[in-house]
């Protein structure tokens, strides 16, 4: 958003957007617009009652997503979208809760919440826009910046090994993990829909280099050239071992659905354990009234 040029294209998904907040603050060549479109397509596909879906963002360029989406939408503090979402979900398990935030927000300052929510299998869908950088604050190095990439706080190139987000998510217990790039609109949408259908902690990483700061600084060309790079260098490999999907500077990027497995969610685990221990004294938590009265 740092060039301050609002994009003025007409959005096809007006029903889902707060049109009274458009134009948005993002750069016109940013992949965040596509990421939001993918989310909108996913919701269209899911046909869920939009009144029952909440979106939570942290702080950053990506963190602004919650502000543009016409759902119950919460813009929390930097790094804390997941615990905020955890509170929403646990207090009303009937809600579908989506976390839409940046790599720095979710994996650096919020990293502890990310790994614990995955471990607990909290029923949340996390959409992580990985632009390899802290964009909102002007392009500082992130724990996702590829080795060698130039960032404002690594002017001689990044020398820290980055996180591989799918591997992190998988090893901590996420039940669904996919990665796409901002180029893969339909595939991203499909994965978001699958992730939201899946009970438990699901993660969709969208590789979406910041065209203004990251690309400019690393001389990667304009938005169009970035797209071309992704088109030519994305390798779709469903079921790839997440250990093998590291991203190096300008290396090919392995995308696809990597993890799709079943584990009891936090609430399932709680209900099972308490029912076993407390029997009649315990009324299962967060079960929809219909489910209780059925049969």
């Amino acid at each position: 958003m740092s060039n301050g040029k609002p994009s003025e294209e007409h959005h096809p998904m007006e029903a889902l957007l707060r049109m009274d907040r458009i134009p948005h603050i993002w750069c016109s060549t940013c992949g965040l617009g596509t990421s939001v479109s993918a989310f909108a397509l996913a919701l269209e596909d899911l046909q869920y009652d939009l009144d029952k879906i909440c979106i939570v963002s942290g702080i950053g360029c990506t963190g602004r997503v919650a502000g543009y989406v016409k759902l119950d939408s919460f813009h929390a503090t930097h790094g804390r979208a997941i615990p905020f979402a955890t509170g929403l979900k646990l207090a009303n398990p009937q809600l579908k809760v989506v976390v839409f935030s940046g790599d720095g927000d979710l994996i650096a300052i919020g990293g502890n919440h990310f790994i614990h929510a995955a471990r607990r299998n909290m029923d949340l869908t996390v959409i992580c826009v990985n632009n390899f950088i802290y964009a909102m604050t002007g392009g500082q190095v992130a724990p996702t910046s590829p080795l060698g990439a130039s960032c404002s706080t690594t002017p001689y190139g990044n020398y820290e090994r980055p996180f591989n987000i799918p591997h992190l998510a998988e090893s901590c217990g996420a039940v669904y993990v996919a990665r796409w790039t901002a180029l893969h609109l339909r595939r991203t949408a499909k994965s978001i829909a699958e992730a939201m259908r899946k009970p438990g902690f699901s993660v969709v990483e969208i590789i979406c280099p910041c065209s203004t700061l990251y690309a400019r600084r690393n001389r990667l060309g304009d938005g169009l050239e970035l797209m071309k790079f992704y088109h030519e260098n994305s390798i779709i490999k469903h079921g790839a071992d997440p250990r093998d999907v590291d991203i190096d500077f300008q290396s090919p990027i392995v995308v696809g659905k990597f993890v799709d497995r079943d584990r009891p969610t936090f609430i399932d685990g709680y209900n099972r354990a308490m029912t076993a221990k407390l029997g009649e004294k315990f009324e299962p938590y967060g079960v929809a009234p219909a489910e209780v009265h059925d049969g």
Partner: protein, 385 residues
């Protein structure tokens, strides 16, 4: 509205202050608790974890206090009455999101069982040195409400009051207790549910098309909704207008911050609570709160025996501070003696509000135990001279 009998453990009990806090929360209708263990507050969480499954509540031990505080806010927006408990280091970690709760005007209750500080300090021993942090701990301008119990019975009663104040004014409310009160066991009478008054959430009756999440009522507090009700609101920690939308301007900032501050300041008389004893003829007034007020009572009795005209002002609601009352008293008396387990916090408020018309003398204590009444007596004598 009356309390839901499901959470109310009616009867006479012997409880420590921590357990009484938990029962207060349950009686007030708290059904979401997120916390992280820390001495001397953990017993609150432990009791909640034991009791919640039977009353339809949900307890979660989070990964840290940042997460706990944030989860409270999320849960509150989903419609739950939410609460957490912590002490010193955890209180510090909660500060950023305490500010978020104030900014989003989210009802929730946070109990701080104070221990000696700074840093890890004295985990198992009392202190009262977080009082200014309670008021000013998060960055930026906001007002907060804090209440200070001095016994297990008050832990029960004041946690209910804290929930009620937080619903009425849509602010996070702090219950500032300490290790002594938290760990002392005394009789706690829990009344029947129909005798417990519970302030309901200020849910709007407007349809979504007419509702604005931050348009204030005449008392400056906006009406609330809960997630999932079809209002599709936006709320943010950024400076926002009545729609809840971010607006980066000095005008919007002025409007919002002024309201956040004034909704409490202009209603301070309705919120403030204190108790007075033997004030009428007093030359000296002891100001105290929490556990220190119980020690002060002893010192005051000793002083009276020696013929010193000394009274007692016990703060119950500590924030907002009873500015007017201190000023009134200052005009009539020689000096205030402030008893608190710290090296000077509320004493500065007393001094400020006395406007130079009475002295404010601190009886300092570094923490780890309560005052010796003899030390208080000595300051009372000094003040009366």
């Amino acid at each position: 509205m009356k309390a839901d009998p499901k959470g109310v453990l009616t009867g006479e009990h012997y409880l420590d202050g921590d357990h009484a806090c938990a029962e207060g929360g349950l009686a007030a209708g708290c059904r979401f608790f997120a916390g992280y263990p820390i001495t001397p507050s953990t017993e609150v969480a432990e009791r909640i974890a034991e009791r919640f499954p039977m009353v339809g509540g949900i307890f979660i031990q989070m990964e840290d206090e940042l997460a706990s505080m944030c989860a409270l806010i999320g849960a509150s927006w989903a419609g739950a009455k939410s609460m957490s408990v912590t002490s010193g280091p955890g209180f510090s970690l909660m500060m950023e999101n305490l500010g978020l709760a104030a900014m989003m005007e989210t009802p929730c209750v946070l109990v701080n069982v104070q221990r000696g500080g700074p840093s890890t300090g004295l985990p198992t021993l009392p202190g009262q040195a977080d009082m200014m942090q309670a008021r000013w701990g998060s960055h930026g301008d906001y007002e907060i409400i804090a209440i200070s119990p001095s016994s297990p019975q008050e832990c029960f009663d004041f946690v209910i009051d804290a929930f009620n104040l937080s619903e009425q004014w849509r602010v996070p409310v702090l219950v500032m207790t300490d290790e002594c009160v938290g760990h002392m066991t005394e009789k706690v009478v829990i009344p029947p549910a129909y005798e417990i008054e519970v302030v309901p959430r200020r849910y709007t009756t407007l349809p979504p098309s007419e509702y604005l999440p931050y348009r204030p009522d005449p008392d400056m507090v906006p009406q609330m909704i809960k997630a999932g009700d079809g209002y599709r609101i936006h709320t943010t920690g950024l400076t926002h207008d009545e729609r809840g939308y971010p607006v980066m301007s000095a005008e919007c900032q002025e409007q919002l911050v002024r309201r956040l501050v004034e909704k409490i300041r202009l209603h301070a008389d309705q919120i403030i609570r204190f108790e007075e004893d033997e004030i009428e003829d007093a030359d000296v007034v002891v100001v105290s709160y929490g556990i220190s007020s119980r020690v002060a009572v002893r010192a005051i009795a000793l002083a009276r025996k020696e013929g010193i005209k000394v009274g007692h002002l016990r703060l119950i609601v500590v924030w907002p501070f009873p500015e007017k009352r201190i000023h009134e008293l200052a005009k009539k008396i020689k000096a205030f003696v402030v008893v608190e387990i710290n090296y000077g916090q509320m004493v500065y408020e007393v001094e400020r509000c006395a406007h130079g018309q009475a002295e404010a003398i601190l009886v300092p204590h570094g923490g780890g135990w309560v005052h010796d009444p003899a030390d208080i007596l000595e300051k009372i004598k000094e003040a009366a001279r």
